[in-house]
Amino acid sequence: MNASSDPGSALLEVRGLSKSFGTLRALQEVDFTLRAGEIHALLGENGAGKSTLIKTVTGVFPRDTGIVRLGGAEVAPRSAKAAVDAGIATVYQEVNLLLNLSVAQNLYLGRQPTRFGLVREAEMRRRAAELLAEFDLHIDVAEPLGNYSVAVQHITAIARAVDQSARVLILDEPTASLDRHEVEILFAVMRKLALRGIGVIFVTHFLDQVYEICDRITVLRNGRLIGERETAELPRIELIRMMLGRELAGTTSERAAAKVRQAGEVCARFEGYGKVGCVAPFNLALRRGEVIGLAGLLGSGRTETARLVFGAERADSGSATVEGKPVRLQSPRDAVAHGFGYCPEERKTEGIIADLTVRENIVLALQAKRGLTKPLSRAEQEGIAIRFIRLLDIRPPEPERPIGLLSGGNQQKVLLARWLATAPRLLVLDEPTRGIDVGAHAEIIRLIRELCDDGLALLVISSELDEIVTYSDRVIVLRDRAHIDELEGEAIDVSNVLAAIAATGTAGAEAGQA
């Protein structure tokens, strides 16, 4: 088990690393060894301490105890910059780069090519375009990064780190918002770097990806090291047991259609609904107890569809009815009043309110729905919060913790709880399982099923086709900001969805980047 018994190849060694946040012991005596030229998976449940380990190693957080050796010499970087200077490049989990700067500036910030102290803008752009081309991304690098989708932003962050990585490259959940094609490209780049002798640490919740690319695996649980194994020698079931500390009940990837639900009546209907420059007019009927999946490439208009349905964008054509009555959805407030809910895709900027506690985040939508004059008492709030913390297994189970201090996966669960607390009739979930660990992933999918059984209508967006196929009763396929196809019942499977997406031939990834 002690990999450092082969000292010649140990590139990055972490010994006895501990880190506490107040009373919370996020890391306890963790050891970790990265060899030169390997791709090493760092796995664990949400909140296991993966991101904390990374940030403590790179000096973003000061460590409590422990040592870090890089190539045999002890290092103690005190800031992200010092880590980069030492040869450790990192894509942090929550990093979105700087949306106000151009793509090129983001790639070269702090190391722009200069002449006489002036930045050589043209040269920088040329290099940026070349660098991104390696990732099969052909965009105008002079545009502000904020004009591009999350996927593009993530690739940019990765490209920057790859370009900087001298000895070690750390990627904290880089694939959470990438589609298959982009993941392929990323993996190719990672392999190339590993061949050059660079050590890569890879954090993900996609176990398939772990088995596809990683040489070895280190598992954390509750801030402790559980074990370090060769990937080839670790069966998947065993890995999951290491991560969760228990068996995972049932698997998630089989189609649940076996149990055919009878769809209820229509609870919300959209006719010719659309907005110029956003999504072409579409017809959509949502029935009680039915899950509708939206599938498509990045940028195909799924998020826009969700936002239109929820009133976050105002439709300029078509009509909407709820329970048969025509309604106007001018704002999210209207939508909430009609019993809609929406978990947005960008958790940090559009979902959580970082300073507020888990309790307050959970009751927020319910309170907004009830109105100002009917405040939930403290006891009611606590009751609701505790109920959902239990139901969704939010960790740590402390309602008074600011949500910003929770791990990403747990934040996602709190957002789900926020809407469940309003007992909605229609729930729109945009990438609900992004960044969520296997255990929680299974739970969320189980929840989605249960919610439907209780008569909720669901509209779910996910880039994971397996997942969509698993729970959807109907799948709507989008391309180029229009609804182009609809699959139902037995017709729903991954290859059919893929075929529909690619219906007019080679649209492929290029469509997403157009």
Binding site: A80, V95, L97, L98, L99, N100, L101, G110, L118, G146
Partner: protein, 327 residues
């Protein structure tokens, strides 16, 4: 380029305003008025340039007005009472200002305190220190002063492009180059985008913060020197409230107070728009003290509303960026 559309809009607003003034007062459109606009607002243009950096980086500097006041008193006393050669006095005060700004930046960064409050304390401190030096207005009689104030490029039509106007234009040009074409400038924008992210990207946030406030204070000191040329005196109460004027100029110039966006050219336009409003009121000459305030407010509102409306139209005409929520 970054920030260009708002600047173009601000420029159009300025031109429209100037045209309206000319329509009402025929001798408004003269080189004299135009040159006065530059000379009279020279010190404001210089501080506002520094303020642009601070605001784009997501901060604010309330101390600049007091620093100008302090500088005028310091320079006047050094030259008149102590007999220090003017240029030496200038060097000394600029160093002092640099240290002052660096201290504010360091406190902001190290103790993680809001810039608004730290620089507010700086404002009290600088003003208090100038009271301690002298509460009386001290005239400066050094020959350099009369040479500088006599120097001017004569323009056809009676306008005089004075030395201090030229200094201001040079500072604005240098500021624009620094902001838009150097690593330092890119880091300033980055800080305004997000401090935390900038730190994670390996930019030394602390030293950047120190340098930004240092720049602002040094430019305030330079503005103080220019102010002392303008009045040939040092006075502890000079430039009261200039911090608000310069913040307003920066913001009217299209820079977001939340940071991350803006330009020096816009700031210059913001300064000129404010100067235009004042000149208009002076030309009118019938306004009582209170109507002066009210009309200034109304014109400020008119400019901002016009700008807001044009920005709205511009963004509606342009391609819609998906997923961007208006807020």
């Amino acid at each position: 380029m970054r920030g260009l559309p708002p600047v173009a809009i601000t420029a159009m607003v300025f031109v429209a305003g100037f045209a309206l003034c000319t329509a009402q007062f025929p001798n408004f459109a003269s080189t004299r008025v135009a040159a006065n606009l530059l000379t009279d607002n020279a010190f404001l243009g210089i501080v506002a340039t520094g303020m642009t950096f601070v605001i784009i980086s997501g901060g604010i500097d309330l101390s600049v007005g007091s620093v100008i006041g302090f500088t005028t008193v310091f320079v006047a006393l050094a030259i008149e009472r102590l007999g220090v050669p003017p240029l030496v006095a200038f060097a000394a005060i600029l160093l002092l200002c640099a240290a002052f700004g660096a201290a504010m930046g360091a406190i902001i960064h190290v103790f993680d305190m809001p810039p608004f409050i730290v620089t507010l304390a700086g404002m009290f401190l600088a003003r208090g220190a100038s009271f301690l030096m002298s509460t009386e207005s001290t005239p400066i009689t050094a020959p350099l002063y009369s040479t500088v104030s006599d120097f001017a490029l004569r323009l056809p039509g009676g306008g005089r492009l004075t030395a201090i106007a030229l200094i201001m234009l040079a500072v604005v040009a240098a500021g624009a180059a620094l902001l838009h074409f150097t690593r330092f400038g890119a880091n300033v924008y980055a800080l305004g985008g997000s401090r935390a992210t900038t730190a994670l990207m390996g930019i030394p946030v602390g030293s950047m913060t120190v340098r930004i406030y240092m720049l602002s204070s040094v430019l305030a000191g330079l503005a103080g020197i220019v102010f002392s040329f303008y009045t040939a005196a040092g006075y502890s109460l000079s430039a009261v409230g200039v911090e608000l004027d310069s913040i307003a100029a920066v913001v009217i110039g299209g820079t977001l107070l939340t940071g991350g966006q803006g330009s020096v050219a816009g700031t210059l336009l913001g300064v000129l728009i404010q100067g235009l409003i004042q000149t208009y009121i002076n030309f009118d000459g019938t306004l009582s003290s209170w109507w002066t305030k009210i009309v200034t407010g109304i014109l400020l509102f008119a400019f901002i509303a016009l700008q807001q409306a044009m920005l709205g139209i511009a963004s509606r005409a342009g391609p819609r960026k998906a997923g961007v929520l208006k807020s």
